[in-house]
């Protein structure tokens, strides 16, 4: 591995570290804090909203500054999502995600750093998320092969 690649990986570790500290300080690693934000008619806690405000205050202007360059530091070009359609998978998928989040109190971004706390709950959650991703891939490739099969 050349020096460029090693620097790139260290930079990624550092980036993950910043994210992890941010998640921990924000309280998003605590399902109780997260779920209380959604408990509009009960023990409401605005913390989640504050976290998003804090994040957006940084990313919204920051992205604009970064995109003045032609390319990122360690890749050939920026790899941004190109899909702009508001379609059924987006809406249905988001609805399912919300239900799962509301049941478990974890979302993937919060659970990944939480793996370092030694608690079993984030581990179980992440494994279940992986299972869910796998399930969706299996169903997707199965339905694709059905379409391709000659009549």
């Amino acid at each position: 591995m050349n020096r460029h690649a090693i620097t790139s990986l260290f930079a990624a570790v550092a980036t993950g570290g910043v994210f992890g500290v941010g998640i921990a300080l924000s309280g998003m690693m605590n399902p109780e804090t997260v779920l209380n934000f959604f408990d509009v008619f009960g023990t409401w806690d605005p913390t989640l909203a504050m976290v998003m405000v804090g994040a957006l205050l940084v990313t919204a202007p920051g992205y604009r500054v970064i995109w003045r360059s032609n390319a990122p530091l360690f890749q050939q070009r920026f790899l941004l999502p190109t899909n702009t359609a508001v379609d059924k998978p987006l809406v249905f998928g988001s609805a399912l995600f919300g239900i799962g989040w509301g049941i478990a109190g974890f979302c993937p971004g919060a659970a990944l750093p939480a793996l370092g706390t030694g608690r079993w709950e984030p581990v179980l959650f992440v494994l279940a998320v992986i299972a869910g991703i796998t399930l969706r891939r299996v169903v997707q490739s199965f339905s694709h092969s059905l379409i391709k099969r000659p009549a």
């Binding site: 990986l9 804090g54 609805a95 239900i99 990944l112 998320v129």
Partner: protein, 157 residues
């Protein structure tokens, strides 16, 4: 009368979470998204990162994802060591609920192409209509779910 704070171990006050730490934490999350964009040109979407980690595309692609997640985990390990006590985590969900929730999150985020970090932070920062819709839908969906669980079924309270 002794102040409640005097009775708590000192280490816990370092990680005393509140709205101020929420704002700072959020800003750090935002900063990490900027760093990933600046360095690797990508959206910081946790589900996509996890997915690419498990379902490997190529070695280089896997490496930066693994490094990122390693950093995330090292951060909480370090905070745990510095803070002494573990970071607060109150989980009312039973193991079955965690599994069910996780499965739904896994299916939902792959269908909907993103989660809170991908759509909620990065997508909104890009002013993506797709992400705005996604955020509105999953926030509403989560709120309805919590209402049903806590106030209709009376679970976990």
């Amino acid at each position: 009368m002794q102040n409640q704070r005097d009775l708590e171990p000192n280490v816990n006050t370092f990680l005393e979470l509140g709205l101020h730490t929420a704002l700072i934490g959020g800003a750090l999350i935002g900063l990490s998204a900027l760093l990933l964009m600046l360095l690797h040109g990508r959206i910081l979407g946790a589900t996509g990162i996890l997915s690419g980690l498990v379902f490997v595309n190529d070695r280089e692609d896997w490496s930066w994802r693994a490094a990122l997640v390693l950093g995330m985990v090292l951060a909480t390990v370090a905070l745990g060591l510095i803070g002494g006590a573990s970071l607060p985590m109150t989980v009312d969900a039973s193991p079955l609920m965690i599994i069910a929730g996780g499965l739904l999150v896994g299916v939902g985020t792959s269908l909907g192409s993103g989660c809170t970090s991908g759509h909620g932070i990065c997508g909104l920062a890009r002013m993506s209509l797709r992400s705005l819709i996604a955020v509105l839908v999953f926030m509403t969906s989560a709120a309805v779910t919590v209402f049903v669980i806590r106030h209709v079924l009376g679970v976990g309270q």
